[in-house]
């Protein structure tokens, strides 16, 4: 819990923040399951940055604007198109980006554990002080990467953050938990995961999109980082959920209450 204070006091003016940015099917797209049940249709479907990761980028950029952070590094794992996601992060204000190229079968089997290994290795290589990721990705809904990255780095974790403040050598984080809000103090270095209400991400402006094209984007592979991508899980099937049939419209409150009473759902 203690011992690092002096070390961090000397570099207090500038934390280095590493932000994970996952490329996912856009939140507004209606998901279609493939007929062979092997997954969902991704070809020709609009993709965007995972909304929770957008919140993470926004928070990191605000830390920089408040002079809490000195550098914001965006990272994405996946096929070449992830570079578009990273350009968005750069246009929002990240300083540079790292694309860890994962393709084909490796990408199909890529799980949060693998991404956590990549993130933790890069966090060490880049001497990051904070790793910031969305609390979950809206495709697999796993909610694991931040926690696992913290474990691999042996850093404290502050998940589901709705407010982050820096005081001296540590962070005060308000977390959204079951039953309300929880405020915790976290020593730096730390892994943070973002919840919905942490901030409202900015839109990238055209001049910033142009500028982002010139910002550095490095490409690496998992093997460069010494991370084994052998899948630990096999997806046996992906199917449509049971369809819920729309019922009947009722004309009045009387009719509604009568129906619910007949079904024994409300007192009669």
């Amino acid at each position: 819990m203690t011992g690092n204070c002096n070390k961090f006091n000397t570099k207090m003016s500038g934390l280095r923040v590493l932000v994970g940015c996952k490329r996912v099917i856009d939140y507004a797209v209606k998901i279609r399951v493939k007929p062979d049940k092997s997954g969902v249709v991704t070809d020709g479907v609009k993709h965007s940055m995972n909304p929770f990761d957008e919140i993470a980028i926004e928070e990191a950029v605000r830390m920089k604007e408040k002079k809490i952070a000195s550098e914001v590094i965006a990272l994405s794992c996946g096929p070449t198109q992830c570079q578009e996601t990273l350009r968005t992060a750069l246009a929002m204000g990240a300083d540079r980006a790292i694309h860890v190229k994962v393709e084909g079968k490796d990408y199909e089997g890529l799980q949060p554990l693998h991404v956590s290994k990549i993130l933790s290795k890069v966090a060490q290589d880049e001497k990051a002080d904070i790793v910031l990721v969305g609390k979950q990705a809206i495709d697999d809904d796993s909610n694991q990467t931040g926690q696992m990255t913290a474990a691999l780095l042996d850093w404290p974790q502050a998940t589901f953050a709705s407010k982050i403040e820096k005081n001296n050598g540590n962070l005060t984080v308000v977390r959204e938990i079951d039953g309300g809000l929880e405020t915790i103090k976290v020593n730096i270095p730390a892994v943070l995961t973002t919840d919905l209400r942490l901030n409202e991400p900015r839109y990238a402006t055209l001049p910033n999109i142009m500028k982002a094209k010139k910002k550095p984007l490095a490409t690496k592979t998992a093997s460069d980082l010494g991370v084994d991508l052998t899948p630990r899980q096999e997806v046996l099937s992906v199917e449509d959920p049971p369809v819920r049939q729309a019922g009947q419209k009722v004309e009045s409150v009387e009719e509604l209450v009568k129906k619910l009473q007949d079904a024994g759902l409300v007192p009669s």
Binding site: V40, T159, I177, D178, L256, L260, L265
Partner: protein, 280 residues
Amino acid sequence: NSTLVIAEHTNDKLTPLTLNAITAAHKVGGDVACLVAGTQCSKVAEEVSKVTGVSKVLLADNEAFKGFLPESITPLVLATQQQFNFTHIFAGASAFGKGLLPRVAAKLDVSPISDIIGIKDAETFVRTIYAGNAIQTVKSKDSIKLVTVRGTAFEAAPAEGGSAATENGRGLKNGENFKLLYDLADKLGAAVGASRAAVDAGFVPNDMQIGQTGKIVAPELYIAVGISGAIQHLAGMKDSKVIVAINKDPEAPIFQVADHGLVQDLFKAVPEMTELVPNK
């Protein structure tokens, strides 16, 4: 097989979700042990010992577990695992379980499986992806399986807030209007939840949010009041037995999943409904 269920509790009381996780653990087959870690929490251990099918209760009572932080509980779970060699470690898919279990998993070099809704066999689990718009069946190749359990998918435990939930969204113009709903909910013995829009607007606290990133509920009766029905939102409630939607917009997507839809202004319909339902 043998499964460790990590109990969630307040030091005084067991969280009902733990009972759902215990039911899920039984489906794996084999012994079920339960770990109660906390500070002066022996009462909880006693409560757990009375749950049917729990063959062993492990109690870790220490100041170090104040706040139930994953940083302090992870080493305990690892030590427990080293001693007993469980094949499965389960926790409820709550803020507590979601915070803790992946941390333990990474330390064991295991790929965890989040928020399961079904168990096919000891290594095959069913879960939802894309906000419930697809169902994935996944087989774990790890020697130890670390799993969080969606409470509404497994029986047991008194459901949170009784048999019905009344939910409301931005259609309610301000926080005070929530009183309309509470009056109805009181009559029905129901709990009240909220949409993201209502939480974001500051009408109600965050823990009332139901949806992809909030609570998942599946009551006998769910009344969506002034809820449009975004997919992220439907993810949190579409397993309810009976869904009623009250919305003045006839095109609201919520009507596509509702058993009974009433196109009417909620400010008129809700008080009328409260009036018509007799006291219990």
